[in-house]
């Protein structure tokens, strides 16, 4: 009984300490490695989307760092400017995982398929 009481006190001190070790937000920065101009990297929901990196990135440029509460797996989209048709096209990258903390992403395009590689 005494041991249990001591254990439970230890338990209380352990509670809510994980955030001291693990980040609950992501500081995200991307570099545009494609030949297109990219803009508005966002997290897409069913009926709405939330812009994460509002910067417009010319080819080869790197964005500023934006810190948001996106820890987990999310559906990432962005817009690419197609100079041939003079239109912004929405690109869906699918579900990307973020573990929290600093993340650096490289967006590239090869054979018409877009990739986001997180270092």
């Amino acid at each position: 009984m005494k041991r249990l009481a001591v254990l439970s006190i230890f338990f209380v001190f352990c509670c809510s300490c994980t955030h001291l070790v693990l980040d609950s937000s992501v500081r995200f920065q991307v570099r545009n490695d494609s030949d297109f101009t990219l803009a508005k990297l966002s997290v897409q929901g069913d009926s709405s989307y939330k812009v994460w990196i509002p910067d417009t990135l010319l080819p080869g440029k790197t964005s500023k760092v934006y810190e948001e509460d996106w820890v987990g797996s999310f559906n990432i989209v962005f817009y690419a400017f197609d100079s041939a048709s003079n239109k912004w096209t929405k690109i869906d990258l699918g579900t990307i995982s973020f573990d929290g903390g600093s993340s650096f992403g490289e967006i590239s395009q090869k054979d018409g398929i877009w990739h986001l590689k997180i270092r």
Binding site: V12, S24, G72
Partner: protein, 423 residues
């Protein structure tokens, strides 16, 4: 021979497969924003149910607290249309009920306060939440006054209930602070309770606690301890504009040590969950549970848990699925304590018999008194030896007597005290 070996190998792989599924589930638990939005109604009803179990004439007090601990952010992920958010479910609760006789009138006056703070946030917290972008933190409190007459087995209670959302992010249903009024009455095995929001009816519950329990002045064994406890409630939930009902039956199946509980929500005609609970002692302080929860798609979730006086560990336990926003597929650890008092003796929540207690009288001055006693004894020894040797006359008489326990009692009678008036 090879056939037998193959059979054994196949059996072993089955067993290990089952164990792997149980301990390392393929899909981690995910919580939906809808379940968190319904948390207010769920917790309000849980507090009413728990108070109903405590509120019986003769119960002098009840004290409980619980702190859930989720060390990993992957244990309770929130699933929204954006994706899966890693984070933490929080649930802290406290309950207290104290009742005392008003003078020698025979009427007991009781005070009660149930408190729970729960929700989901991207950071874990004990007191100060992070209030992340997808957080929902809410406090639900029930307070009231109870008047009981133990000689007539009669009691009534009235009070208020307050649901206070601290933060409700945009992914949840909108909600605001709400104050509810409630009333409860108990007469013998029958208890009735109802709650209102302003003048809108919210719920009514009828409990028939037919099982004879020692803690309520009933029997310790025999036929009457095998009668069922029935708990039926009807809700008017504004969220879905649908009336719903909850029926639960608790049945003692072996010497108040083994119970079966069946709980169902209606109009869904399926029983939502069944529990088999083994209490090593009928005071219900310690329990070992096996539960089976039927999900809406018909899948069965098997789970269980262990409750000790300060710790509760469970996995897929039906009570957690119901009270922790449908959380399953992960281990739940909780600092947990719940004890009720009646007739100067203790028992667990909804317990059948008093806990076997060893009574020890504790004297904080024990060491000091012992020292003084020894000193006195030594002194007496010395005086008796001097008396026998000198045989002298004294003005004050000292008698040393030894009682049955051999504790010396010293009586000093002084003679010749004069009172003088001071002029």
């Amino acid at each position: 021979m090879t056939g037998v070996r193959n059979l054994l190998l196949r059996m072993a792989s089955r067993i290990f497969g089952c164990a792997a599924i149980l301990f390392f589930p393929a899909s981690a638990a995910k919580i939906s924003p809808e379940a968190l939005s319904l948390g207010s109604a769920q917790t309000r009803d849980l507090q009413f149910r728990e108070f109903g179990e405590v509120f019986h004439p003769g119960t002098e007090g009840y004290l409980s607290f619980g702190i859930n601990y989720f060390p990993l952010p992957s244990q309770a992920e929130l699933s929204t249309s954006y994706g899966t958010h890693k984070g933490y479910v929080a649930r802290y609760n406290f309950a207290g009920y104290f009742s005392e006789e008003m003078g020698k009138s025979g009427w007991d006056l009781g005070l009660l306060w149930w408190f729970e703070r729960h929700g989901w946030d991207s950071e874990d917290f004990l007191l100060f939440p992070h209030y992340g972008e997808f957080a929902l933190i809410r406090t639900v409190q029930t307070a009231g006054l109870a008047i009981t007459r133990p000689s007539l087995d009669l009691g009534i209670a009235i009070g208020v209930q307050y649901s206070n959302p601290e933060i409700v992010s945009e992914v949840y249903n909108l909600e605001s602070d709400s104050l509810y009024e409630w009333g409860a009455a108990v007469w013998g095995p029958i208890s009735l309770q109802s709650s209102f929001h302003h003048s809108d009816f919210r719920h009514v519950r009828l409990s028939l606690n037919m099982e004879s329990k020692q803690v309520r002045g009933g029997r310790e064994s025999g036929f009457f301890t095998y009668l069922p406890n029935i708990n039926a409630a009807m809700f008017n939930r504004s969220q879905d504009d649908k009336d719903s009902a909850r029926l639960s039956i608790e049945q003692n199946i072996f010497r108040q040590l083994l119970y079966v509980e069946l709980t169902g929500y209606f109009p869904d005609k399926d029983i939502r969950f069944a529990s088999l609970k083994y209490y090593p002692d009928p005071s219900k302080v310690v329990s070992f549970d096996v539960t089976c929860y039927k999900k809406e798609n018909g899948d069965l979730l098997w789970g269980g848990g262990v409750s000790l006086p300060f710790l509760r560990l469970s996995y897929n336990h039906a009570d957690d699925i119901e009270n922790l926003f449908g959380l399953h597929g992960t281990f739940v650890a909780q600092i947990h304590f719940a004890i009720a008092k009646a007739d100067e003796k203790f028992f667990g929540l909804n317990g059948s018999r008093f806990a076997p207690m060893e009574t020890k009288s504790f004297d904080p001055d024990f060491d000091k008194k012992k020292e003084e006693r020894e000193k006195r004894e030594n002194k007496e020894k010395q005086t008796t030896t001097t008396e026998t040797t000198s045989d002298s006359k004294t003005t004050s008489q000292t008698e040393t007597r030894q009682d049955a326990n051999k504790k010396p009692i010293k009586e000093i009678t002084a003679k010749g005290i004069k009172r003088e008036k001071v002029q």
